[in-house]
């Protein structure tokens, strides 16, 4: 069975996460060898996933942690009384 591009796209996320079974992975790999579109779609999706996970994209607001622990400290102190 030769799989088509749409079939590959359906499994891209699972492929990136290593969650496709060996037979499907082999089919997808074979397709990728000759399909520049799917290769580019896979590479760009993987690149997006890596960039999204980078800590520099979602940084806590300045002073967030200090304010949180200050408020917590007040709560912890009052619960000790």
């Amino acid at each position: 069975m030769r799989i088509d591009c749409e079939h590959v796209w359906e499994h891209i996320s699972a492929y990136i996460d290593g969650e496709v079974d060996a037979a499907l992975r082999a089919e997808i790999d074979k397709h990728l060898e000759t399909c520049e579109i799917c290769s580019a779609v896979l590479d760009s999706t993987r690149n997006v996933v890596v960039l999204v996970a980078d800590g520099r994209v979602f940084e806590l607001p300045a002073g967030f942690s200090e304010r949180l622990h200050e408020r917590l400290e007040a709560e912890l102190q009052s619960s000790e009384k």
Partner: protein, 209 residues
Amino acid sequence: MAKAANPQFEAECIRRILAGEHHLFHELIRPCEHSIYFLLLSILHNEADAEDAAQETAIKVFRNLHMFRGDSQFKTWVLSIARNEGLGRLRKNDRLREDSLEALTGEDSGDFTPAVLTSWREVPSEALEKKELAGLIRGAIEDLPDIYRNVVLLRDIEEMDVCETAATLGVTEGAVKVRLHRARALLQRKLAHKLKPFAPKRGLFGRGR
């Protein structure tokens, strides 16, 4: 991004806090701060509200610590409390939208085909030093429908596994996988062309920087 949870440290910490060493709670909650805030920001769409709700969540976690049974991961339990806090505030403000309740209606609508490209030059993580790039990515995630954004947040940003994500959001593991796939497709579609200018230029002799 997310700090690795250490169940032994957590269990010991919880035992000692419950025995009266309250100051240890600061260390217990610290590894969850990032996830709590961004999950609440994802639900409330407002930084000041998310921060206040995050503080309230931490206080609720402390007050209810004796209720933690250890049958889920501590962080999963904490994030369920954060999510309830967020949804409770939406309800109070009468801003509760269908998708915040993880409603299944309309879940299949939308086009999840990726942006079609013929080649891709990788954008290295260092490019994120440019505020513009980080802003583009943040914007694309913020624009995702709630059900997809929450899953990307927990799976790809907070690096929780499928099972913990499903437990936090109260959906099945299958739903987490489908939503993550669609969210990534929507992000690729939205970002692929915008990211291209951030890739290093090719030099005359192969890859330049």
